[in-house]
Point group: D2
């Protein structure tokens, strides 16, 4: 995250003060319909309770900004200093992740007071004109908060799916697709020796550095994401029954977990597929032209093999995306579910809708150095057994994204809004 | 529970109406300091969230009384009919137990409205004069509620112990013991052919029937429960390090679970033992004369072997207790923790303080028949791999107990208020 | 096993010398068709490799007889002193049970030499006239060897079942049943105050002592064991699909293990049931009149409930069997599989064919004291979470059995030759 | 494995006939001191019994050569066709891997006869002049056999380590190091756009293709492997106690598995380290100058971080090795353990001694296509969650290696002969 090359605009504490308020408010705004009880649920090992997210993001500012830069700052509660540490071992012991479901105390009102306490202290700090290195930390903290904002959406979706009553997170129906998704066009790229990673034009995480050269063979990307209808064809062609389509580890997972469809798909009593969304159950037929979502890397890879194609490497993806403006079906659109692609030339749905699994394992770029100190644990220590995803989803805030952004999860992960874009070599 | 031989008093619907209100109120009274968030926590696989207990006990009346006996009764919510079923498979599918932690919806206010709905319907039903067989069912439902009342106390104790902040359930300190526990006297019983089980004088569960004859050799019981101080001596004598003291399955558990003390004991930084209670952490030294609590059958058995004694059978216990009045440190005393024995002749601490592990496996009495229908699943289907406990604890309501009462848990269970009374053969 | 009341005959060292040779030879005789490779297989956690059984039984004599009673005895190999200890923790550390599959060294020839070494030392010791207490130990050791003889048969059956080629242990076909099993008669017993346990007429294990009084209500036992045909009726009536027939723990096991039939049953490609025996696969139709075998306590209990009956307690069984001579389809008959009942009055198939699950949990008799020292671990430490079986099986040697004999296994156990005899209360 | 570009020499069936005999004999030669019982042991889930390796390698020739190319070929045993399939799902069902420990039948003599049967049929086929595409398959089969030859050595090492008697695989002592390992020199490479993968000069596996361009920044490699003495310094500096040195997944593994040293290290009663080798236990002090071995990727990575260095990528490694001749401490040297580095210029110990963990995840090269048919399962389906190792070990046959060879294992794997070579960026 090479904080340090923050541009003039971000360096301005006044502007940062505005952004701080916006990002923090957005988090609370997202939770406005959740009850204190909803915010207690931790329904799978990947997830955390909403209340914990609200506290941990405040802990981040308290730990890495206020306690380091503000003389005389008094923590809201000394116990929170270790209680809401997630995984920074350099800072000392912390509770096991699974214990977060036991945090009935501190109660929600106390956590909201904690947020308020931190907000006020931060506001005073920014008002007084924070130094450059503090601003860099704050920028990092805001991107951290936006990551957890997205996690709140994904975690509460799983929580409500686990609840046998299947409540809806948001009211209102999803927009019905009016027309079929446009056919896939294949967009060609010449490749060659290209530059990858942080271009120092804006904030980035440390795992996007250093910028370096990668050689790419000519390649093509599908103009849009794979739809539910296309994925259903794969399923109906025995996709989940044919080991030859799968990575060995993927097939083992299919058998062990009895996968037969993406996460959040079920058949109703009449045998019709339904999909659970943040707005409750929807018939597949109303979503068939939207991008398939909540698939693992294994499913994305098997689908691509079935289709005679492959997934892009993260470098192919970044090279293709680097000239495109951030936009698309992101959190601000308020749909909270992927939507169908528009017709048009070039690549569609590059940012937003779903995170796109790539064929690239998550490792450090040549010469990669984690941030010094505890913040070095932010990204670097996860560089094994994970795969890179690119592009952002319908629950990612727009200001959080850029072409060089690297998301990463274990290949069996499905609870994120993750989907598929096909790739191929050069046409001949 | 041979409901059917309810005596005249209970048969009176008016009196039942009073008891119904008392028991139902007691449940809510116990929870009065808990927040909606507290009532979400399910911190071990034995436990359920408080909110679930509140709902399930109401479900019991709705299912087995109102829907069966009240023409035109409309359930509070049709979905609750399966949502709050615990384990009655004859009634259809139900959610897995572990999912109860995901029930943020229905919210607490809705559950309290559910309780109110059931209370009002029950009140109208009793006011109109319920038939005898319905009264029997209601009596069963009230004892069922009292069992869950005790579970609320044990489950929330575990929940607060799991919370890294270790909040206290109740305010105020435990009464400090003023003097040492009296020395153990050995109370002798001649045995012979004795009668065991339901004597038809009051309500009982089906597992207490039929009354039958058992032959007992002469035996002795310790006049009081084993204290923490005595148990500490066992620990300091290598109790948890000497396999020869343990059942094979117990020793495997010691090694696998790294047991070194009862549940809820820990050492502080200075190496002094502390005990977690419903009133928070207490130094062992203030509790050393109180009965040791939260031990498994394995620990109780190992302690007895170390002491050169044994545990009583459930028949020895019942024979000894059958002439004693219900009394002692029960829920109504409000201490919420075992207290030291009084001096005095005969058996002390027979009812209340802690459930006493016996040497008896939980099986059906000769000629045992479960209740017909779904209620037959109440007790009978658990008659394997469990051990009987007798006597009640400091969180059991007095009106719930009798000498023939059989509690039962797996031998490794520790989250209940369970302790030790030594037994021996006849002195020679 | 109150060795100490051995009668004159056994007390005679000369006779013991003969019995020693017979029992030891029988073990080796049973293994005569097994290869060194067969004797390496440990196919489930209950089982041990044959070679280990051969060594451990010799270890028992070396440890408890030769090293204790024979001055100057030199162990065959000092390392075997701990290597072949099974579970006697008082003797020190031992390898984990699952490691036995790694004992390629010592090789079979070395183990046979170990047996020879022990046999010769024992022979010299007996020839010289061993003292009474040594003879008691030897008697215990021979019964120990006979238990392992039976385990060799049950373990190798599982090993060959696990091998995808399913080799047969013994050659030749099972005798085809010529006629249906006779109908069940119900044999009545008056009960009353009866004596149970060791009557001091012969060898017994310590868990059969002390003899004591038990009160029995009047009861009836089925005249013969439950047949495969009867069990198939239960299966075809949805026996494995109806939770109301099962103990709760049993139903959990059915679901977790996907039980649909007894162990060793499978359907062939045409949907016909086959049963794996020590003589290979047999069509069910040729075995339908033989006792059902390799069922757990849970299945036995569910079958009995389905049949409107129950299992006998171990006391009912022993009282009924105590006047009967040992005989029936035992190891010496060489069939190695249960056979159909003969017609005739009274109880049939009491000894041999299959171990009969009882409704009794395995606990100590009143006043039970384990043997002193390490041998106290033989039986007593297993007295939790196990159920008693009575009667012996088609792979039990005749000289190993008596009416008071208590076998015991966890209720989910199926790899033993275990079956069902129905019981009931008095007819009215 | 682009079989197809076999050079003239390999294309000659006569020469292949010689090589076939050599490779097959080498496998049997390695096993010459193992008993039939040794060949039954499967001591961890990664390993297979030796006997299974002997059979499976023959199955490979039978399946992919004889049954495809030799008209009228009759399999040795029809059941072996599925019994010894490892993981080729396109060929149908196969036994679960863990069942291999139950294959007491077929016996070793039968497996040796199977090998003989296949050898003779292959010899006749080669004598008659096999076609080019068959020769390619045979070449693949011989490299497959050499992989299993190495697995026999690694698996039996684990088997003998698991056996509490810890037998030695080979006689004789390891050569004592006469002098310290030379100091590490840093060998510099300029990098740039380099070519990676199969250069068509000899046999390769499909995962080495296609040859493609990779851009490398300037880098340095350590002139020799990391020694036990160096690794011990890391351990003594708290290497296994400091989470900041570890990948997150690695640290979880350290804690879960209680790692404190490489696999095969233990402390004797006096607290001195010993290392288990194929020649039995050796004091660490005699091996301290030899390369550390049997470490996971996690340990290699943590060591490198502690040392202020990193691991090489597989591309850096291959570029550096591509000009070096195959040689070093390989299987043919007969040491069966890594040995200390020689002094000298340039890179030492590149081939042999230990497989070197790289920082590269195992994925397909750009444009990678697996072989068609079942053989496509050989490599491609394992391309997730594994890391690449390069260079070969002291139990790899020399004729099996080349600079482009890619070995791969999960990052927690330790039972292979795997070690560490440090890398770094350009010196400044």
């Amino acid at each position: 995250m090479p904080i340090g090359h923050a541009a003039g605009e971000q360096a301005n504490a006044g502007l940062m003060r505005v952004r701080f308020r916006e990002v923090r408010s957005a988090t609370e705004e997202l939770c406005r319909h959740l009850t204190a009880e909803d915010m207690m649920v931790q329904s799978c090992e990947e997830a955390s309770p909403t209340k914990w997210h609200l506290a941990h993001t405040s802990w981040f500012f308290e730990t890495f900004v206020l306690r380091e830069f503000v003389a005389g700052y008094r923590p809201f509660d000394e116990r929170f200093v270790w209680l809401f540490n997630s995984y920074y071992k350099a800072l000392g012991e912390m509770p096991e992740k699974k214990l977060r479901a036991s945090f009935s105390r501190p109660g929600l009102s106390e956590i909201l007071a904690f947020r308020q306490h931190v907000n006020q202290a931060m506001d005073r700090f920014l008002e007084a004109g924070a130094p450059e290195d503090a601003l860099d930390r704050i920028q990092l903290g805001l991107h951290h908060e936006q990551q957890h904002l997205e996690l709140i959406a994904t975690d509460i979706k799983h929580a409500f799916f686990t609840n046998p009553l299947h409540p809806a997170f948001a009211e209102g129906r999803l927009p019905a697709a009016e027309m079929p998704a446009p056919p896939i066009n294949w967009v060609s790229f010449e490749g060659g020796l290209v530059e990858i990673g942080d271009d120092e034009s804006e904030f980035c995480f440390d795992n996007e550095t250093p910028r370096h050269r990668v050689f790419l063979e000519p390649y093509q990307l599908a103009s849009r994401l794979t739809t539910c209808a296309e994925y259903l064809t794969f399923m109906e062609d025995g996709g989940y029954l044919r080991p030859e389509l799968w990575l060995s580890e993927g097939w083992d997972t299919v058998e062990r977990e009895h996968w037969q469809a993406p996460l959040y798909w079920r058949k109703d009593e009449a045998g019709r597929w339904q999909i659970f969304t943040l707005r409750g159950w929807q018939p597949l037929e109303t979503l068939s032209e939207t991008p398939v979502c909540h698939v693992s890397l294994f499913e994305a890879d098997a689908f691509a093999r079935w289709a005679g194609k492959r997934l892009a490497t993260e470098f192919e993806w970044e090279h293709a995306a680097s000239s495109l403006a951030i936009g698309g079906n992101l959190l601000e659109h308020g749909v909270l579910h992927p939507t169908s692609a528009a017709a048009g030339p070039g690549l569609q749905q590059v940012f937003g809708d779903v995170w796109e699994w790539t064929a690239s394992a998550y490792t450090g770029y040549p010469g990669y150095k984690p941030l010094p100190g505890a913040l070095g644990e932010y990204n670097g220590k996860f560089m094994s057994s994970q795969m890179v995803l690119r592009g952002g989803s319908c629950v990612t805030p727009a200001s959080h994204l850029r072409a060089s952004y690297r998301n990463f999860f274990q290949p069996a992960t499905r609870w994120q809004f993750s989907g598929i874009r096909l790739a191929d070599g050069a046409s001949e």
